[in-house]
């Protein structure tokens, strides 16, 4: 796939039919069977333009399709509802040829009109989509988001099987955006009939359809027999039970009543599970595109001094913090997680050096230390991590007062620029798509540094911003020069030390003995937490 994408950029304007099957189906897979998955929180909505939660993200992936998709268990793009696509020489015009004969769950055939309708819908202000911003590079986005237009001028229906999308600027991440849930294709008549309640009666083209939903209790998906990808899904259906505490879900898994606990293994039970060989054998470990970090507010004293930010970076004992969460992470050196393209191999960042940190403080004229506040979300293990940070900083003379608050309150304090330090855990950045740009704009770029933004360190460097813009203007997202540019961006960010990158969390999922399929499907980097379309049961 990567090769194909490269060639699409280099060969230019040539139609590139892309291989229809790029995933080798598991030869042992047997169709049939139902599985049970639990979640603590309710499924808020299954509307692909709205859903942005841990629970509904992969459900929506199984109910809907977009023009692009990922090879299961990987971060490699593959075509979805588009059979092939062409990119213009300057990288601003994408022409997608749609698959023939794909039908929605209501039986109607999907056409180019549906693609246009869906993209208009997600960007219209009335929809209040949390994903609208991802589509900003499409021509006409500004007009539609200010209400000046009610359709995206950059999306044209060429014929019922062809859609042409024109961008206002080259956007290397555009194909990833087309693979986001927010870009799912929905049928107009079903949306209009359901009105604002479309999220409760979703109709898509996906591998599963919604069979039953008792709000607050249970949600059942059943196999879409007419699914356009051959051979999948394997399962007859999936029952999601909501409102289950992770500890209770684990007990039920041990009794064989649950197949996958959607919220994972509760931190308090992790050691117990890993110490039991039978249970440990059913634990699946995988990387995820996540970084946990401490923001240092460059707009507040004394973090406006580089030496102080460096001192804090040197004072944090990342290995010990990893121990606090039972070793379920690897220490981080830079904003990007290791599995993300553009990660700088061999970049060591700041080593743990309390003496050096004290020297840096003295250099800043703060040899006696200072007092500051650390904001943290109030769910386990975040307060415990905050305490470890507090101890580390206390060792160099910095007194930290911990403000442990509900998620929404921490986000508010961060957006208002009131928090000197924030531990990102529980709100941390898990990538929306596997591209290095996703860790920059809103959380480290100037665009996010205003009031209400997500750039909580208020770091804004015009020079680095310009490099980021340049990197995103490439037409090929995997171009080595582009990834090198991103690597430079993050190294330059670290030279300014607005963050303490602490760790990259590993994901641990557990499954029942009867669950089959590649382990990668259970820690799928995109279909979080499980790729439901490709897993199967063995009995």
């Amino acid at each position: 796939m990567k090769k194909l994408l490269c060639s699409s950029a280099l060969v230019l304007s040539l139609a590139l039919p892309v291989a229809a099957q790029d995933y080798t189906p598991d030869p042992n897979a047997t169709p049939g069977g139902m599985i049970t998955i639990t979640y603590k929180d309710d499924v808020a909505t299954l509307d692909p333009a709205i859903g942005y939660d841990w629970q509904n993200w992969s459900m929506i992936k199984s109910l809907f399709d977009g023009l692009m998709d990922y090879v299961p268990g990987t971060t490699e793009l593959r075509p979805g509802l588009a059979e092939s696509y062409e990119v213009s020489e300057d990288g601003t015009v994408f022409t997608f040829a749609l698959r023939q004969g794909v039908t929605f769950h209501n039986g109607r055939e999907m056409t180019a009109e549906d693609v246009k309708y869906s993209l208009d819908r997600v960007t219209l202000p009335e929809t209040q989509s949390p994903g609208a911003g991802f589509f900003a590079s499409i021509q006409g986005f500004d007009e539609i988001s200010t209400g000046a237009a009610d359709t995206l001028s950059g999306v044209e229906v060429v014929d019922p099987q062809t859609v042409r999308i024109t961008l206002s600027r080259p956007d290397a991440t555009f194909l990833h955006v087309m693979a986001l849930n927010f870009a799912s294709v929905v049928p107009r008549e079903a949306v209009e009939e359901a009105g604002a309640d479309f999220g409760k009666v979703p109709v898509g083209t996906g591998a599963f359809r919604l069979a039953d939903w008792v709000i607050g209790q249970r949600l059942v998906l059943e196999k879409n027999e007419g699914y356009w990808r051959d051979g999948v899904p394997y399962l007859d259906g999936i029952t999601f039970e909501v409102g289950q505490e992770p500890v209770v879900a684990l007990l039920r898994l041990q009794q064989g009543e649950v197949d996958v606990p959607g919220d994972g293994i509760p931190p308090a039970k992790f050691q117990e599970v890993m110490n039991d060989p039978d249970q440990a054998a059913r634990v699946v470990e995988g990387g995820q595109l996540h970084t946990g970090y401490i923001t240092l507010n460059v707009g507040m004293e004394p973090f406006d001094q580089l030496a102080v930010r460096e001192a804090v970076n040197m004072a944090i004992n990342k290995d010990r913090i990893v121990q606090v969460i039972n070793g379920r992470a690897v220490p981080a050196t830079q904003p990007l997680p290791p599995s993300m393209p553009g990660y700088t191999q061999g970049f060591d960042g700041f080593a743990y050096d309390p003496e050096g940190a004290k020297a840096k403080l003295a250099e800043a004229g703060l040899a006696d230390g200072f007092t500051t506040q650390l904001y943290v979300m109030n769910t386990d293990p975040n307060p415990r991590i905050a305490q470890a940070i507090q101890q580390d900083l206390s060792a160099i003379g910095v007194e930290v007062e911990i403000r442990s608050l509900a998620q929404a309150n921490v986000i508010e304090a961060g957006g208002a620029g009131e928090a000197p330090m924030i531990w990102s855990g529980g709100m941390a950045w898990i990538a929306d798509f596997p591209d290095p740009s996703n860790f920059y704009g809103p959380i480290l770029g100037c665009a996010g540094a205003g009031d209400g933004g997500w750039n909580w360190s208020r770091f804004c460097d015009e020079g680095i911003d310009a490099m980021a813009t340049e990197a995103d203007s490439f037409t090929d997202p995997t171009a080595p020069e582009r990834l090198e540019l991103w690597s430079q961006v993050y190294q330059q960010v670290m030279a300014q030390a607005p963050w303490v990158p602490v760790f990259n969390e590993q994901r641990y999922t557990m499954k029942s003995a009867r669950m089959g399929g590649d382990d990668a499907l259970y820690v799928d980097p995109v279909s979080i937490p499980v790729n439901y379309d490709y897993v199967y049961v063995t009995e």
């Binding site: 709205i50 949390p130 607050g216 039970e241 409102g243 505490e245 309150n409």
Partner: protein, 306 residues
């Protein structure tokens, strides 16, 4: 009687109005912006502003409150910001489960509390009485989260007598109802004990004893009905206490009631849902107290309604 009722109902409505205003103001001053929860982390400033306007959250507090009240009197609780559906639908789908759990909790606390209270009163001052009173003290003090998990572990996981959480059958109800009832049962056993002891000192009990009635007949025909009276009125107040308790119990047992709904809404500043659950809970508490006041005179003619 009618005048009394009208006055009480008017007072109840005033209380509800007060609750709605206080809750609304508290949510308004809360340092958390619901619009940012809706808009998500990739939203532009324009998107955030659009949403704020569409929801009317750019209006002054009193205008917002006025709009909410206007909806409320027409039975419109608004739409959930995050679930994007009617709050009334969300509450209606979950209320039956909460009511069932509360009913189960009341039955459990009465059954356990009254029985233990009577036994303690009979064995007053003896080791059994002292043992029961210590037990009741533990029951009152034990956190429901711990009690729930303990019961779950022993009776569902180890013994397998009941399902591990969930909803649907009577077997599902037992453990959550007992968890909810245990705290109240501690109070009831103490109250029942002292009430029973008080009654046993009365002249009519001495008369009954002098008539040569059996011990059982004295206890169950003459003493118990009188001792229970002051306790009945407590049940109305319990509904209020339970409204708090169900938040914990529902989350431990995966019980699909409004407590869970409230907890999730609070986490994500879903103001219409928080308001809705608060108003419905407040209405139940007020109604419970009202019923207790109305019923008491029927049980005990000495208490007059004025």
């Amino acid at each position: 009687m009618a005048g009394y009722l009208v006055r009480r109902i008017f007072a109840a409505l005033m209380i509800l109005l007060g609750v709605s205003f206080i809750t609304f103001v508290l949510l308004y001053v809360l340092p958390a912006d619901p619009v940012r929860q809706i808009a998500g982390r990739s939203a532009t400033a324009q998107t955030v502003e659009n949403i704020r306007q569409q929801l009317g959250l750019d209006q002054p507090l009193l205008v917002q409150y006025g709009r909410y009240l206007a909806g409320l009197v027409q039975g419109d609780l608004g739409r959930s910001y995050l679930q994007r559906t009617e709050v009334s639908t969300l509450i209606a789908s979950r209320l039956p489960a909460s009511l069932l759990l509360m009913a189960g909790g009341i039955v459990c606390e009465l059954l356990i509390g009254l029985t233990l209270g009577v036994i303690a009163a009979i064995y007053r001052g003896r080791p059994l009485d002292q043992g029961l009173m210590v037990t009741s003290f533990v029951a009152v003090s034990a956190p429901q989260f711990v009690v729930g998990l303990l019961l779950l572990y022993v009776f569902a996981v180890q013994l397998g007598w009941f399902p591990i959480g969930g909803y649907g059958t009577l077997a599902h109800l037992v453990l959550p109802a007992v968890t909810l009832g245990i705290m109240g049962s501690g109070w009831y056993s103490r109250m029942m004990r002292s009430s029973m002891i008080e009654v046993m000192r009365q002249d009519y009990i001495r008369t009954a004893r002098a008539k040569g009635l059996t011990r059982g007949r004295i206890l169950f025909r003459h003493a118990l009905p009188n001792a229970i009276l002051p306790i009945i009125a407590m049940i109305g107040i319990d509904i209020g206490i339970f409204m708090g308790g169900i938040v914990v119990v529902e989350s431990v047992f995966g019980w699909p009631g409004i407590g869970q709904l409230a907890w999730q809404a609070i986490q994500r500043v879903d103001i219409p849902v928080i308001m809705g659950v608060t108003m419905v809970s407040a209405a139940f508490i007020v109604l419970g107290n009202l019923l207790a006041d109305i019923i008491t005179p029927f049980i005990d003619p000495r208490i007059k309604m004025r």
